[in-house]
């Protein structure tokens, strides 16, 4: 190969690379633009943000954060106590939903993946059908049921409601994970001296751990972000979850955008943290290497 042509090829490759990076940059900006706006709003003092193109706060201040957290000037009646309580509600409801979903879905998904039993197919189809309805469609019957059970305005009630959609979803996720585990592994464990349940505990569960983590994370996130049902079933401020709290900042008569934005950022932080902590599980292969690939 002659030197000039190789140089030209090199130049072209460089240009192509630049083009790709530019495209990625554009996509990132496009995706982040609204987020940056939220950050800017949260940092801008006052409640009347002037519309502009570039999302930067001209006089950044933490006053909205302070107000949301209930410290410093302009905080709500009840102050920090209330926000803390609502944060706790969100954490408890979301974590319980995740635990209930994974705990119930694990045996169900395993059975569906491994055993042939009467009604397996029909059951699976029924589960799929529940996923096709938006949760809101069931809100009125759910309201009546919760009312009858005396669970309106309680965290337990909300967890039950969330579980109705989280469990089927988790079953689907985990069924795939279980089906991907070679049967040989369990059989090897049983020949080695384990009972069927022992093989499940000692071999199957550890191997699907990443899938369990991811499934729990999704259930947690869905519950954490859910607004419509929470707003329907909760009416007392002490039982609110954070999305409901946030929405109250932007009321019919006054829109406190600054607080809303600060609250939104505070609400997304835990989920971001969870994602960061679990990201290795999100990408890790399930049973890499155990059985010859």
């Amino acid at each position: 190969m002659s030197a000039p042509s190789s140089q030209r090829a090199h130049g072209r490759a460089l240009l192509a690379e630049l083009g790709v990076h530019l495209l990625v940059l554009l996509a990132v900006v496009f995706a982040l633009y609204p987020v940056l706006w939220v950050v800017a709003l949260a940092l801008s003092p006052g409640d009347a943000p002037e519309p502009r193109v570039l999302p930067f706060a001209s006089h950044p201040s933490l006053e909205h954060f302070a107000a949301v957290l209930g410290v410093g000037a302009g905080s709500e009646a009840g102050g920090g106590w209330l926000f803390g309580r609502q944060l706790l509600n969100s954490v408890l409801v979301s974590a319980s939903t995740a635990i209930v979903a994974v705990a119930l879905a694990t045996p169900a998904a395993y059975a569906l993946a491994r055993f042939d039993f009467v009604g397996a197919k029909e059951g699976e189809r029924a589960l799929l059908a529940t996923q096709m309805f938006p949760g809101v469609a069931a809100s009125i019957p759910l309201y009546l049921i919760l009312d009858a059970l005396g669970l309106l305005d309680t965290r337990t009630g909300l967890v039950l409601v969330y579980a109705t959609t989280a469990v089927p979803f988790a079953i689907f996720q985990l069924r795939g994970a279980f089906a991907a585990i070679p049967k040989d592994l369990e059989e090897a464990a049983m020949v080695d001296g384990a009972t069927r349940f022992g093989a499940f505990l000692r071999v199957v569960l550890p191997v699907v751990r990443p899938a369990l983590a991811v499934t729990a994370l999704f259930a947690f996130m869905t519950a954490w972000n859910e607004f419509v049902l929470a707003a329907t079933f909760l009416s007392r401020e002490e039982t609110f979850t954070l999305p409901v709290v946030l929405q109250r900042y932007v009321g019919e008569y006054d829109a406190r955008w600054g607080r809303f934005a600060a609250g939104a950022i505070l609400v997304s932080l835990p989920v971001m943290g969870l994602f960061y902590a679990l990201q290795r599980n999100l990408v890790r292969g399930l049973s890499a290497g155990g059985v010859k690939g």
Binding site: E187, M190, G193, T195, R202, V207, S287, G289, G290
Partner: protein, 365 residues
């Protein structure tokens, strides 16, 4: 160690009968190899012995115990899977320890056993690794080690070498043979590699479509195949089969005129003559021989050569040794002599090997 007795094992999966009445005796310390074409039920039989499949009929006895209805863990067998089935979340050490822990061995006993097994299989440096950090050959050895560490009364191997390359397979085959000698263990070994079958087996079992076609010492089975199926299954290149007519102590067909050895001389009528490539001798200078082979291709292997061609329209392969290989060219018609004990006759319909003279002839005489 223990013996194994299978009687009248039948198993249907779905609607297909997979095992159709299998009887098998494995004596204490014997290495029995099950061979047969893909899908003939080898794995299913092994899984039945392990307790992973429940037979529809028949009994499985290990030693004096009837284990037909016992769970796998109660049978004291160890199995090496074709996929190795190493526990992906456990280190090599933990893989080896898995079965021992479940059996409630003390941790000193476990460490000692692992050290012993690791040393004999050369796994010492790999003990802390995860399965995904091992090569195929290393995984295979861990799988073997996991079985050996258990010291079971019966070892089951399901094509343990089929995922290794040819060179490694040869090595491990020898290792298994040594291991068997050292442990004196009872082993049932499934393969469809006939070199493994011939070299490892004390006793060879040829399965065909869920039935035992022939049982015997490997050389015995090789030399006296009970049917055309067994004959075609063992030996590479395979035995040539030539439809012919027997009569007057000879078999004849186009390009075929072979004298029958004593035991077979009385046969009359249509037969299939079977001759292995290794049982013919090339005649010099294109002399007319018992077989007239039209050569299509010559494969030179260095120490020997194979002449592929046809006799009377049927494919046939002859092994050529020594100088003979240089002279033969595609298109040549060469004469071959057949060793007396290389002559096999099969019934053209039932494909069963003909040995003693047929009853009909006896009655007429």
């Amino acid at each position: 160690m223990a013996s194994l007795t299978l009687s009248q094992i039948e198993k249907t999966l779905g609607t297909t009968p997979i095992l159709r009445g299998i009887d098998l005796d494995v004596t204490d310390g014997e290495l029995v190899v099950l061979v047969g074409p893909s899908g003939c039920g080898k794995s299913t039989l092994l899984r039945t012995i392990a307790g992973l499949e429940l037979p529809d009929r028949g009994t499985v006895k290990i030693g004096e115990r009837d284990v037909t209805h016992l769970a796998p863990r109660e049978r004291d067998v160890a199995m090496v899977f074709q996929s190795y089935a190493l526990y992906p979340h456990l280190s090599v050490r933990e893989n080896l320890a898995f079965g021992l822990r479940l059996r409630g061995e003390t941790s000193e006993a476990i460490s000692a056993r692992i050290a012993d097994v690791a040393q004999s299989l050369g796994l010492e440096k790999l003990l802390e690794r995860l399965p995904k950090q091992l090569s195929g050959g290393q995984r295979q050895r861990v799988a073997m080690g996991r079985a050996i560490a258990r010291r079971p009364s019966l070892f089951l191997f399901d094509e343990p070498l089929s995922n290794l390359d040819a060179a490694l397979r040869g090595e491990v085959r020898v290792e298994i043979k040594k291991l068997h000698a050292k442990l004196g263990a009872t082993m049932v070994y499934v393969t469809h590699d006939q070199v493994e079958a011939m070299t490892l087996a004390d006793k060879l079992v040829v399965l065909r479509a869920g039935r035992v076609e022939q049982i015997g010492p490997p050389l015995e089975v090789y030399k006296h195949p009970a049917s055309r199926f067994v004959a075609s299954f063992l030996g590479t290149p395979g035995m040539g089969f030539l439809p012919a007519r027997a009569g007057g102590g000879r078999v004849k067909a186009e390009g075929v005129d072979v004298a029958l050895p004593d035991g077979l001389a009385a046969h009359e009528g249509d037969v299939v003559l079977g001759v292995r490539p290794h049982d013919v001798r090339l005649l010099p200078n294109k002399t007319k021989g018992a077989l007239q082979l039209t050569v299509d291709v010559v494969e030179a292997m260095g120490f020997e050569a194979y002449a592929h061609g046809h006799i009377g329209g049927k494919p046939f392969v002859a092994r050529l040794e020594g100088d003979a290989q240089t002279g033969v060219r595609p298109g040549d018609v060469v004469g071959l002599d057949v060793e007396a004990d290389g002559v096999h006759l099969f019934d053209p319909k039932s494909e069963v090997a003909l040995t003693a003279p047929p009853a009909r002839t006896k009655g007429a005489a």
